[in-house]
């Protein structure tokens, strides 16, 4: 019996989707097996930083070629992919780290990556929310960020791959077996299940490396480039210990994404409050004002880590019809497109723009990557990353407070006098009809009146995103609406 598909891919993250798109572009028929949402694993957990990394020549080749593919694709990405060519700013705190800036600059010059050494004054001007007194930085202009789940969905849609919404339980010999017993046959199968790849292909050297992230409400311009500390140099040799590093990223929405942490041996996806604290404290050391920003979510994810920091891309030793595309650690979003190209080229029996050997699953450790030193440790670019029934009638009839006294506050510079005890929402309503503009510019006012809906947000005494319904008016309070 003939194979149902040319290529069947287990895993609908960004790597699986990129493999599907690249294989489809070769004219191959493709199926993707993914029981959950597309891009719902490490892809959703990651930061979506497209960055050139220089830990090893093989890492440079993969990240640089893949970044180029993203730049070429950027004009076609739909708006919800939120592609933002904001660049990366490597931040040096002291002289020792400035030496790393200069080293990095030399490497980037050699490989043709635009990079600019930034002095302390220019750094403060470029990123005014960084703490004063930093030594400088290196700005890499052509790096970017995007929103990975929608990028994965875009790539998968483009591939027109058949989507099989089931869990793969076995892979190999040109067959993916599904949980319900169905077998999907294909010329080539690809294991692209990230940190879970060893469950389908036992014995491969991929470990889970847990990461945490936090995201804030919208503060447009607060962070301009992706900021990454170079301070990891000082704690670089602790390969297995838990580590945190400062990493702040602007999103096209105006939100600030904050990382990063790395933990081996953590299988539990729940938030580790201790690591989260260390990570946020580190971020506040670099951006002292960050503490006052409102965080709306935190989450975790599992990177697929390999011993030599390079992904496994290509045929699995012992089974020529089983390809691996996993082990991308914190660089899966960046390197997904090049991974897809490498897989497609190997399926077609061709070579691609960069040599495939450094990433082949059968490679010898230490041949290409950087086993010791663990320089990329610190987590530069993370991926994985009423009412009451009001009884049947109303409560005991308590009369309104005797609002004899009044309070005067300022709303958009206009004095408004309200009864003592009134909330800011009452004062705002007296002055303007619109409390805020929604993300698409609609006029909005309070909905729930009890602190749940966040529709009545205004700026109170300089504090953005404050719920006006829950804050009592105080004399002299400065209130601003963005409506």
């Amino acid at each position: 019996m003939g194979a149902s598909y040319d290529v069947a891919i287990a895993g609908g993250g960004i790597v699986g989707a990129a493999c599907a798109a690249a294989c489809a572009a070769e004219g191959l028929s493709v199926a993707v097996v993914e029981p959950g949402p597309i891009g719902g694993g490490a892809t959703a957990a990651g930061m979506g930083h497209i960055v050139v990394m220089d830990d090893s020549p093989a890492q440079i080749a993969l990240t640089l070629s893949s970044r180029q593919l993203w730049i070429e694709l950027s004009g076609e990405l739909p708006a919800d992919v939120e592609y933002l060519p904001c660049g990366t700013m490597w931040v040096a705190a002291d002289e020792e780290e400035l030496a790393e800036v200069r080293r990095k600059k030399r490497v980037y010059d050699e490989i043709g990556v635009r990079a600019e050494v930034v002095g302390p004054k220019e750094l403060a001007e470029a990123e005014p929310n960084l703490r004063p007194g930093l030594a400088g930085g290196l700005f890499v202009a052509d790096d970017s960020v995007l929103y990975p789940p929608c990028a994965a969905r875009f790539l998968l849609e483009r591939s027109k791959a058949a989507r099989i919404a089931q869990r793969a339980v076995e892979i190999g010999g040109g067959v993916i077996k599904l949980r319900d017993g169905t077998a999907i046959s294909a010329g080539v199968t690809v294991n692209a299940t990230g940190a879970w790849a060893p469950e389908l292909t036992p014995g491969i050297e991929v470990r889970k490396r847990k990461g945490h992230l936090a995201i804030t409400d919208r503060y447009p311009g607060y962070v301009r480039a992706v900021l990454i500390e170079l301070g990891y140099l000082k704690s670089a040799h602790a390969t297995s210990a838990d580590s945190v590093a400062f990493n702040a990223q602007p999103r096209k929405t105006g939100q600030v994404l904050i990382g990063s942490s790395r933990q081996f041996g953590a299988e539990d996806a729940s938030i580790d409050a201790h690591i989260l604290r260390r990570m946020l404290q580190r971020a506040e050391e670099y951006m002292p004002g960050l503490g006052k920003l409102s965080a709306i979510r935190t989450w975790t994810g599992f990177r697929a880590a390999t011993p030599d920091k390079l992904p496994l891309i290509g045929p699995c030793p012992g089974d020529e019809r089983l390809f691996l595309a996993t082990g991308h650690e914190g660089l899966g979003i960046t390197t997904s497109l090049a991974t897809g190209k490498l897989v497609a080229a190997q399926v077609m029996g061709r070579s691609w723009a960069i040599p495939a050997e450094p990433y082949l699953p059968g490679r010898k450790a230490e041949a290409h990557g950087n086993v010791s030193g663990d320089r990329n440790v610190a987590g530069q670019r993370e991926e994985a990353s009423m009412a009451r029934l009001d009884r049947l009638t109303i409560g005991p009839q308590v009369d309104n407070l005797p609002h004899k006294d009044t309070v005067t506050v300022s709303v958009n510079g206009v004095a408004v006098t309200v009864p003592a005890g009134a909330m800011v929402s009452a004062a705002v309503a007296m002055a303007v009809a619109t409390f805020r503009r929604s993300v698409t510019g609609e006029a909005r006012g309070p909905l729930c009146g009890m602190g749940i809906c966040f529709e009545c947000r205004v700026t109170v005494d300089g504090r953005e995103h404050s719920r006006s319904c829950q804050i009592p008016c105080a004399p002299g309070m400065e209130v601003r609406t963005d409506g």
Binding site: I38, L276, T298, A387, T393, V398, L447, I452, C453, I471
Partner: protein, 403 residues
């Protein structure tokens, strides 16, 4: 925790929380209450509760995280604090369910309880034309309150049918106290039209379009106060790992959740009204301080109140026609402005979040989640800290030495 810990911390200072705190404090326990609102009393007594606080009370303060068992992180406008507890009573109450329809995001459209809360917060409503719409006994209470404060309440549009309410009303005979209240309320509403089987289908700048028995008409108003019943606030319980069912936080006969030492009382365990909340609060308060025999004294009263609550739920069940209220271009997520048309194409909540941003804004899905539960049958996902948007500094906590 060390000596700094409270014996009992009560989260929520509404009827259930106040009752629990009172029972715990009068038993000699070192107790504290925490409430997001500026004053105790919950939403029912918002700004009007005149009692004496039974224990230390942190107002204008919410629980945002649980950094370790026995410790909660509190945040107010001015600062962050961690307090320790031996027992926790969750009395986090309920919020309104909002359903999307064309125009529901306009500034003059508010929740029913929402407009009442704003009025209690100082919003002037005297002389304003108001239509109260949606479902549940709350609509009556809101209408009465607003009229009592000078609003021109044009009508109440209750989506439930008269037949269901009549069946429920007949049942009230078994609850004499409630019946008296109902009569009192009707008297208060004298002169306000109460239309059953009637609901809003659209709102515009000048008012609301209502539908009843196949007839559609425009009703001018300055405010449309619209809520479709209540939803338990279960997020903190979920963060703590407590079992949560379809109706609310699951509890045993002593109001203890699936997590030992964590109790839950009031609307968070299921919508039941003031009296049920108070009784549950009393049981939880006594149970939390190790007085089960006192707690048991309230079991019978709770049973009776629960039967009443079940009747209410049946009478005010939401009709299926309401599922057709939103059009494809009606926003369902107000934080991220995501249309119902985009969301309904997703196979589930997580897909919708990842691919449309629905539920990813600061309300953390509290508004759209209640709508989508009714419209598409989606249940909320797991809860992670912060359980409410919080300042980064509240999550980064006290500066501890690195290991």
């Amino acid at each position: 925790m060390g000596d700094g810990a409270y014996d009992v911390v009560v989260v929520g200072a509404g009827p259930a929380g106040l009752a629990a705190a009172r029972c715990a404090a009068e038993s000699g326990a070192r107790a504290a209450m925490v409430d997001d609102n500026p004053r105790p009393g919950g939403q029912i007594w918002r700004g009007e509760w005149m009692g004496r606080e039974p224990c230390t009370t942190f107002c204008g303060t919410r629980v945002v995280a649980v950094p370790e068992p026995g410790v909660i992180t509190l945040e107010s406008f001015d600062g962050t604090l961690e307090i320790g507890y031996r027992k926790l009573v969750l009395a986090t109450g309920a919020r309104e369910r909002f359903l999307p329809f064309p125009g529901w995001t306009l500034p003059h459209v508010m929740g029913a309880g929402g407009l009442q809360a704003l009025a209690k917060s100082g919003l002037r409503i005297a002389g304003k034309k108001v239509v109260v719409a949606g479902s549940g006994p709350l609509l009556l209470a809101v209408a009465k309150y607003l009229r009592g404060h000078g609003a021109d309440v044009r009508l109440i549009a209750e989506q439930a049918d008269q037949a269901a309410l009549t069946r429920f009303g007949a049942g009230l005979i078994r609850h004499p106290g409630k019946l008296a209240q109902a009569i009192g309320l009707r008297a208060g509403l004298l002169g306000i039209r109460y239309l059953t089987g009637c609901w809003p289908i659209a709102a515009g700048g000048a008012g609301v379009t209502l539908r009843r028995a196949g007839r559609t008409w425009d009703e001018p108003c300055d405010y449309l106060a619209c809520g479709f019943g209540l939803i338990p606030n279960v997020e903190l319980a979920a963060l703590l790992g407590c079992g949560v069912g379809a109706g609310g936080v699951e509890v045993d006969e002593y109001q203890q959740t699936s997590v030992a030492g964590v109790y839950c009382a009031g609307e968070a365990t299921g919508i039941g009204g003031l009296e049920l909340s108070e009784v549950e609060g009393e049981i939880a308060g006594y149970a939390a301080v190790g007085r089960p025999e006192k707690a048991r004294e309230f079991f019978r009263a709770r049973e009776s109140q629960r039967r009443f609550a079940a009747g209410l739920e049946r009478a005010f069940a939401l009709r299926n026609e309401l599922k057709t209220l939103p059009g494809d271009d009606t926003l369902v997520c107000r934080c991220e402005d995501v249309t119902f048309g985009r969301v309904r194409q997703c196979p589930g909540w997580r897909d919708a979040k990842l691919h449309t941003r629905c539920g990813m804004g600061p309300c953390q899905g509290r508004v759209c989640g209640g709508a989508l539960e009714f419209l598409l049958g989606w249940r909320a996902e797991s809860v992670r800290p912060p359980v409410f948007p919080a300042r980064i500094e509240s999550l980064s906590g006290p500066r501890c030495p690195q290991p």
